[in-house]
């Protein structure tokens, strides 16, 4: 293990100053659940010191700020799971945090860390992208805002401005008539990494047509993004098993188009299509007479989180 120093930041300004001290290669440390594993594996690169940001009061907590929900970047997964505000306005974010399944990790892992680390299989980024969440970033030149979707660049790559620190995330709470779901197909029940995950929201008009649907698949594309093509297909239509199957096929084709054929594609594509159907059934309930048909359709091997 390489040797490095430690300094604890007491405020956001101090953290930014410490992260940008000339001549010192500093690394932000929040929950440590990714960084410490990378250090242990010799994959963290070399740095002179860690700047501990986990106890900065302004980086923690969940609150409404005006009409927006705001989550401090160093808020832990456990805090998100327990938050009444999140349960009410964006339950699928709590579900994504809970899907990690182990208290030892959820008590330490932070939302900001999950995004900044940008692992392809991370659980919360697809949900934040689905919410069109914005990240608020502190830099030596002041604060700036960036959509989470454009912060994520690919596996373990983010587009944070140099020396920047994610301070918080903000999003519009889901309306009461918007349903949401988080699904995960993982290697095993417990512990972190999912092979495919999916966040979806849906709202029906009074006449049963689809007012809005959003769909984000994680760990399938080069980075999590809203599947606008699928969303457009659904918009204004009546929910039906056939429509959801079409949506699944479309997302499957998009995935193959974008990432090409790999050894795992055949399996992933099938699983992805089944997950799309399951997610859409949850967020866009079928009229009662349609429910029967769905049950008789193909592969239903997806493990739902709830």
């Amino acid at each position: 293990m390489n040797s490095f120093g430690y300094v604890r930041a007491g405020s956001i300004d101090e953290a930014v100053a410490l992260l940008n001290t000339p001549g010192v290669n500093s690394r932000a440390l929040a929950g440590g659940t990714d960084l410490m594993v990378a250090v242990r594996a010799g994959e963290a690169g070399s740095f002179d010191r860690v700047v501990d940001i986990s106890t900065i009061p302004d980086l923690r907590g969940i609150a409404m700020v005006g009409s927006r929900a705001r989550i401090g970047a160093a808020t832990t997964f456990s805090e998100i799971m327990r938050s009444g505000l999140i349960q009410q306005h964006a339950r699928f974010l709590a579900d994504a945090a809970h899907s990690v399944r182990t208290m030892q990790i959820t008590n330490m892992a932070t939302l900001g860390g999950n995004v900044a680390n940008a692992a392809a299989a991370a659980d919360t980024p697809p949900v934040l992208v689905c919410l069109d969440a914005e990240a608020i970033i502190a830099t030596p030149a002041g604060q700036q805002r960036m959509p989470v979707a454009s912060l994520l660049r690919g596996h373990l790559k983010n587009t944070l401005p140099a020396g920047g620190l994610i301070v918080a995330f903000e999003f519009d709470p889901l309306s009461v008539d918007t349903r949401n779901t988080f699904l995960k197909l993982g290697r095993r029940n417990a512990l972190t990494i999912s092979r495919i995950n999916m966040a979806a929201t849906g709202r029906l008009q009074a006449d049963g047509h689809i007012a809005e649907a959003r769909l984000v698949a994680g760990a399938c594309f080069s980075r999590p993004r809203r599947a606008r093509e699928v969303e457009a297909l659904l918009q204004g239509r009546l929910p039906s098993a056939a429509l959801f199957a079409e949506a699944g096929q479309l997302l499957m084709r998009l995935m193959v188009q974008e990432v090409g054929q790999r050894w795992s594609t055949e399996y992933k594509a099938l699983a992805l299509a089944a997950m799309v159907e399951e997610a859409l059934e949850t967020v866009l309930p079928l009229p009662a007479n349609e429910t029967e048909t769905v049950r008789s359709i193909g592969v239903k091997s997806v493990e739902s989180m709830r």
Partner: protein, 162 residues
């Protein structure tokens, strides 16, 4: 680069000099000679190194030692009310056959304790959820769940009597 780390360990104030880059697990075992906390995987997957940090269960192999400065750490050594005795949960582990090779036990007792402090009446499902981060290669888990469940009942009964 050494750093002075002041924190509360099992109810006592501790001040220790250690390299800044060591983990809490190494600090406990190598610098403070508290070897109850075990190292299994060292990458956050097995839970053998579980300790309570400010009352919440964490993997000490993923915590950097200086991160605990000013905070409260409890290890398996601190659970018993008096030295050399066992806590009710530890006694239940023995009684229900939840210990075989014993390597996972300190971590599981800590995870069980964290769960019981948070949830006084856990269902078996909730207990399973609570110990999902702890691997045991020997027992098959049922005895461990029994021990935690029975301890919850005992504590609830004791509460009623008081």
């Amino acid at each position: 680069m050494n750093i002075q780390i002041d924190f509360t360990l099992n109810g006592r104030a501790v001040s220790i000099d250690a390299p800044a880059h060591v983990t809490l697990l190494r600090l406990l075992r190598d610098y403070l000679n508290l070897t109850g906390t075990k190292e299994g995987c060292a990458i956050g997957e097995c839970g053998a190194c579980s300790v309570l940090l400010d009352g919440r269960v964490v993997n000490s192999c993923l915590v950097l030692a200086p991160q605990v400065s000013g905070r409260d750490v409890m290890t398996v050594e601190g659970l018993a009310p008096v030295e050399g005795a066992m806590s009710d949960l530890q006694a239940a582990f023995v009684k229900y056959g939840a210990v075989q090779c014993g390597y996972c036990t300190p971590g599981l007792v800590i995870a069980g304790e964290a769960l019981l402090r948070d949830n006084h009446f856990p269902t078996r499902d909730e207990i399973n959820d609570g110990i999902a981060g702890n691997l045991c290669r020997c027992t098959g888990y049922q005895q461990i769940v029994d021990a935690i469940e029975q301890t919850a009942r005992q504590r609830a009964a004791a509460q009623v009597k008081e």
